[in-house]
């Protein structure tokens, strides 16, 4: 478990926000290619989960995976490199922003096929269990993904085999544009736990200390009771779904309501009130995170290095064992 001092937690969330804002700007100014899925507003979930599990526990992320990846400890350099398609990126520029994989930090990556990653996470847990490991796997998935059949199949298997999976529903009210209120036939995804005899809970995902403590409880339960757990975190993505989103499907009023629950703003306030930090110090953190990212981005913009086609073809197949 990483240091979980309040200031460290806040710093992690600020790093994520700064990172996302920078990415947003790089896309807006066409410095980056492809598509991107920002998770501005969901930082408390990512920090709370990453810090609530052991560093040797695994995560399997989603298409919206920057925050998960940063929080689990990946270097900003390696991430930005991947976004630029640079060979110094996490996957040498082959994976892109929806496939951030970092085994060193026990991040097994994600699937851009929404929901399919939940089966992968379940399978990882199966092998962890078989090999006698005490680690668990966090399977992140969204409210949209919760309606994929494979999520149902995976939860059923995790339950009958008592696998160490923390099913982490990141309910941010929307899929791409469709409201969970219309698409998910139940108020809370946590209510689906009973379908699989999986214990579950729904919590405020914008309260980082709550997320942290509930994830710790869940992780303890998974290790001790040897059962999976389903935790729903209620949150909101402030950003659009992807770079081309015009946000026609939701109201400005709703956004304003949620803005008041901004996890970073809330936590800053709490820590200032508790006397743990001052606003000036927060501003300093923001500035330092921002400068760090700017420096990294500048260096990639200056010196781009990429694989050749021949080099990239080396990664299609793993070497075979010799016969």
């Amino acid at each position: 478990m990483e240091s979980t001092s309040p200031v460290a937690i806040l710093t992690l969330m600020i790093r994520s926000r700064t990172f996302e804002r920078k990415i947003e700007q790089l896309f807006r100014t066409h410095k980056m290619h492809g598509t991107t899925h920002l998770a501005i507003g969901q930082e408390a979930v990512h920090a709370g989960v990453a810090l609530g599990i052991d560093s040797s526990d695994w995560i399997v992320t989603t298409h919206r995976c920057h925050g998960h990846t940063l929080a689990k400890g990946s270097s900003v350099e390696a991430m930005i490199g991947e976004f630029f398609g640079d060979k110094r990126g996490l996957s040498k520029g082959l994976g892109g922003s929806m496939h951030l994989i970092d085994l060193k930090h026990h991040n097994a990556g994600s699937s851009a096929v929404v929901g399919s990653s939940v089966a992968l996470a379940t399978g990882m847990a199966l092998q962890l269990q078989r090999s006698g490991s005490d680690n668990l796997v966090v399977a992140f998935f969204g409210d949209g993904a919760s309606n994929r059949g494979v999520v149902h199949e995976s939860m059923n298997m995790a339950s009958i085999w008592s696998l160490p999976v923390l099913f982490l529903a990141e309910h941010n009210e929307y899929g791409m544009s469709s409201s969970a209120k219309k698409m998910v036939s139940v108020d809370s995804i946590a209510d689906r736990g009973s379908s699989y005899s999986i214990k579950s809970e729904s919590i405020d995902g914008n309260d980082v200390e709550l997320v942290l403590s509930k994830v710790r409880d869940a992780a303890r339960y998974i290790r001790e009771e040897k059962r999976p757990f389903l935790l729903e975190t209620r949150t909101y993505r402030f950003s659009g779904h992807s770079k081309s989103d015009k946000l026609l499907y939701r109201s400005r009023e709703e956004e304003a309501e949620w803005a008041k629950k901004d996890p970073i703003g809330r936590y800053s306030q709490i820590l200032v009130d508790r006397g743990e930090i001052t606003y000036d110090q927060i501003a300093e953190i923001e500035q330092s995170e921002s400068e760090n990212i700017d420096t990294i981005v500048a260096s990639y913009l200056e010196d781009h290095q990429e694989l050749t086609l021949e080099e990239s073809m080396e990664y299609v197949y793993h070497d075979e064992v010799s016969l």
Binding site: G34, H99, S177, S178, Y249, L307
Partner: protein, 325 residues
């Protein structure tokens, strides 16, 4: 004639058919106010409402299965799946159900369904959002598979696909903004007819989908070298217009096949085999059939690598040139 984009042409076809028959229903994820992932269906919900534009949860297998069931009962669904890559999830309802229902019921049931999905690379969306998976469908009797390259073809084929009493896999390329002339009056393009997009004498290039653009550019380069290229745009992969292919090859005596999907196991095999197993075409050939396709690898995220994965103008020019001398 009027200019419109590939996107608009597909939209207009759907609109006209939805207005004509209220059993034509668009079904898919975010097809309502978002207008679908590539905004092809923008505005349809305002015009036709939720009875004809049905937004679904993220449930590809289920929603295509639902569309098959609805089609059995008289709906004429047009199903949109956001990326062709997710056709893996829809392959059970399409291959095992839509394609077989008419047969297994000895004609009692039919599935007048259109399955729309975009294929191909060029968007920087990496390996799971950029494939060309037409071969998932082309070996399945009971399905039609079309892949229009121009706005005009897209509109005419879409209207025919919607009116077809059989399941039609309607593949789109992602160059949705590509402009082209489209007739003012209503028209239909029959499924199963290739189109000679350019008449030539020296070599036949057979292609479909987005590659038509690249092939056309290559044909212009080759023209400068005094090589006259005939371009056969298949438009329909199943049924395949073998007559048009063979006639062209018999005329030019040289055949080059180009597609974006990985070459090995790609649809080019069927086309090459069609030529190689026809005695007249076979004996007319001056040179072996040449095929160009995507590299044997998943599509990389990196922009340059992604672009380099698929046949380039130079590759086509080179391959065509190799057929001479």
């Amino acid at each position: 004639m009027k200019m419109m984009s590939y996107r608009e042409a597909i939209r207009e076809a759907m609109m006209e058919e939805m207005a004509r028959d209220e059993n034509v229903v668009l079904i898919g994820e975010d097809v309502g106010c978002y207008g679908g992932c590539f905004t092809v269906s923008s505005g349809l919900i305002d015009r036709f409402g939720t009875r004809q534009v049905i937004e679904t949860p993220v449930s590809e297998e289920g929603l295509v299965g639902v569309a098959v069931g609805a089609a059995i009962m008289g709906m004429r669904p047009v199903v949109e799946v956001m990326y062709g890559d997710f056709s893996t999830l829809a392959s059970d309802p399409l291959l095992n159900h839509a394609a077989k229902t008419h047969f297994m019921s000895a004609g009692a049931q039919s599935v007048p369904l259109v399955y729309r999905t975009p294929m191909g690379s060029g968007t920087g969306a990496a390996a799971q959002h950029t494939q060309s998976l037409e071969t998932l469908f082309t070996n399945t009797p009971g399905l039609h598979v079309v892949f229009p390259s121009t706005p005009c073809d897209a509109k005419g084929l879409m209207k025919c696909a919607i009116r077809s009493n059989n399941p039609v896999v309607f593949l789109e390329h992602k160059n949705y903004g590509q402009m082209g002339l489209v007739p003012d009056d209503e028209y239909l393009i029959e499924i199963g007819k290739a189109d000679i997009k350019r008449i030539g004498e020296d070599v036949t290039i057979i292609t479909y989908g987005r590659m038509l653009d690249t092939v056309t550019q290559a044909a212009r380069v080759l023209e400068d070298d005094e090589v006259s290229v005939e371009i056969v745009d298949l438009r329909s992969l199943r049924p395949l217009d073998t007559r048009t292919i063979l006639d062209s090859v018999i005329k030019t005596k040289r055949a080059l096949i180009v597609h974006e999907a990985p070459l090995f196991g790609g649809f080019s095999g069927e086309i090459a085999a069609t030529i190689a197993s026809d005695s007249k075409a076979f004996s007319s050939l001056m040179k072996p059939v040449v095929r160009l396709g995507g590299r044997e690898m998943p599509i990389p995220f990196n922009k340059h690598l992604e672009a380099a994965m698929i046949p380039q103008v130079e590759d086509i020019v080179k391959a065509a040139t190799s057929l001479f001398g």
